[in-house]
């Protein structure tokens, strides 16, 4: 039987595998959700914001909470591959390495998006939020920001696979590189919530950042995977 799986077919296989594995235990998602919630509560205790102040800081707090929450999930995403030497098998498989990366990144994206869907109403409740700017733009900013974190995060988590102190390394190398994206997503969200300035520039930054780094990740994943 002569069957050639297209590149997207490979991506879909990897994606489906990760989704199924996660769905069976739901460890990552539950952990992320609870972690994000805790971060929100701690920040509220720290700042005790008034209604006006809430709008100023909610954007920042949301993304900080998501950042920390995704770190916990990203590390786990690859340990799954290390059990039973699955990673060696992946390296020998004929599917392109970047398809493995893309599948995993998309899976992580969906998990974090799910956390956001649950977190958003909580945010609105805790901070009595309603957007003073163009609220619908949040549907643009959230996916862009999430992808920026998840794409680089999945890549760097793979970089740290065989290092000692793996869990420590991921935030150390991810945060500096992500700073422009973090700035973009936080500023855009704050702009939308407060309506005080235009988010356009920040959205453009996010788009440019995503294009640049997604390309780099796809091109370099093969190298990173076969680093030895």
């Amino acid at each position: 039987m002569n069957w050639q799986i297209s590149y997207l077919g490979h991506v879909w296989s990897h994606l489906r595998k990760d989704l199924q594995l996660e769905w069976r235990s739901r460890d990552s998602i539950n952990g992320m959700l609870f972690f994000a919630l805790l971060v929100v509560v701690v920040f509220s205790l720290a700042f005790d914001p008034t209604a006006a102040m809430s709008r100023e800081i909610a954007g920042g707090i949301l993304w900080v909470a998501l950042l920390f929450a995704s770190i916990t999930a990203l590390n786990q995403a690859w340990t799954r591959e290390q059990r039973n030497r699955v990673l060696e098998a992946q390296r020998m498989a004929p599917s392109p390495a970047s398809a493995l990366f893309l599948g995993k990144a998309l899976a992580n994206f969906l998990f974090v998006a799910l956390v956001e869907v649950v977190l958003a109403p909580l945010f609105i409740v805790f901070y009595n939020l309603h957007a003073l700017g163009q609220g619908w733009l949040l549907w643009v900013v959230m996916p862009l920001g999430t992808w920026a974190l998840v794409c680089n995060g999945t890549f760097f988590a793979a970089l740290g696979l065989r290092t000692r102190n793996r869990e420590l390394l991921l935030p150390l190398i991810l945060f500096p590189v992500s700073i422009p994206a973090l700035l973009g997503m936080m500023e855009a969200t704050t702009a939308i919530l407060t309506g005080e300035f235009e988010p356009g520039q920040w959205i453009q930054l996010l788009i440019a950042y995503n294009i640049a780094f997604t390309t780099v990740c796809l091109l370099l994943f093969e190298t990173a995977l076969s680093a030895e």
Partner: protein
């Protein structure tokens, strides 16, 4: 691997020349250059601060070139790849040294001029992020396991190299508190006075020469370590084969 005999004397000559230029430039900065009308003598910090800032934006690209070279030669010519990697790590360390000095001298100057140690304006913040990026590179090198380090670090270096301009752009959009840059803006009031230019240029040259010296020294150290590692590996192989019986 024997290095050509002429390299030693050239190295020493460069070092002496560099020291001479540094002394001369320092003298120009402290004695010859005129006192600033607005800020007084503390302005002389500029002659050390700005050259270090400018140079700390160049060494990251030396690191990037070294990393690209490593990735290119990794499978084609391993010996060249090792040399490229040595360039990469040296440039990263020198970047961190220069960026640290830029931050430290900037803070000391800022305390006098603005009354505050720090502010999140675009220049300081961008420099801080640059410093963070290359410290994270050094951390990756320290924490990753043998055999992988060079490749992983090279990959991170590419991310960092692409990120540097994006960081600068994004943070500049975010903040505008720092006084206008002295050389590269259209604002005529912020140009460095002609009488101060020689002192500045001498210092730029001095610290650039010193940077080349540091790069070379650190490169030689790394090559030595690589040689030792290879010899140790060879010795281990020989021992296991009992060839030296």
């Amino acid at each position: 691997m024997e290095r050509p005999r002429t390299l030693g004397p050239i190295g020493i000559a460069w070092f002496c020349l560099t020291l001479a230029v540094i002394v001369y430039a320092t003298r120009m900065a402290l004695v010859v250059a005129p006192t600033d009308a607005l800020q007084g003598n503390v302005f002389r910090i500029l002659y050390y601060h700005v050259p270090h800032s400018m140079l700390s934006l160049i060494f990251p690209y030396v690191n990037l070139v070294g990393s690209l070279g490593f990735l290119y030669w990794r499978r084609r010519d391993p010996l060249k790849a090792l040399a490229a990697d040595a360039v990469a790590i040296s440039a990263a360390e020198v970047t961190v040294v220069y960026a640290s000095i830029c931050l430290l001298t900037g803070m000391l100057w800022g305390k006098v001029e603005w009354g505050i140690w720090w502010t999140w304006d675009w220049r300081l913040t961008s420099m801080l992020v640059l410093w963070l990026l290359y410290v994270s590179y050094l951390m990756l090198r320290r924490l990753s396991s043998t055999g992988q380090t060079q490749t992983l670090a090279a990959v991170l270096s590419i991310f960092a190299g692409i990120d540097v301009p994006i960081v600068y752009m994004s943070i500049r959009w975010w903040r505008t508190q720092h006084p206008s840059p002295i050389f590269f803006s259209g604002d005529p009031d912020s140009k460095l006075d002609r009488t101060m230019l020689p002192a500045f240029l001498w210092n730029l040259a001095a610290w650039a020469m010193w940077g080349v010296f540091l790069l070379t020294l650190r490169y030689l150290l790394e090559r030595r370590r690589q040689d030792n590692e290879q010899n140790a590996a060879l010795k281990a192989i020989e021992d296991s084969l009992e060839l030296t019986r």
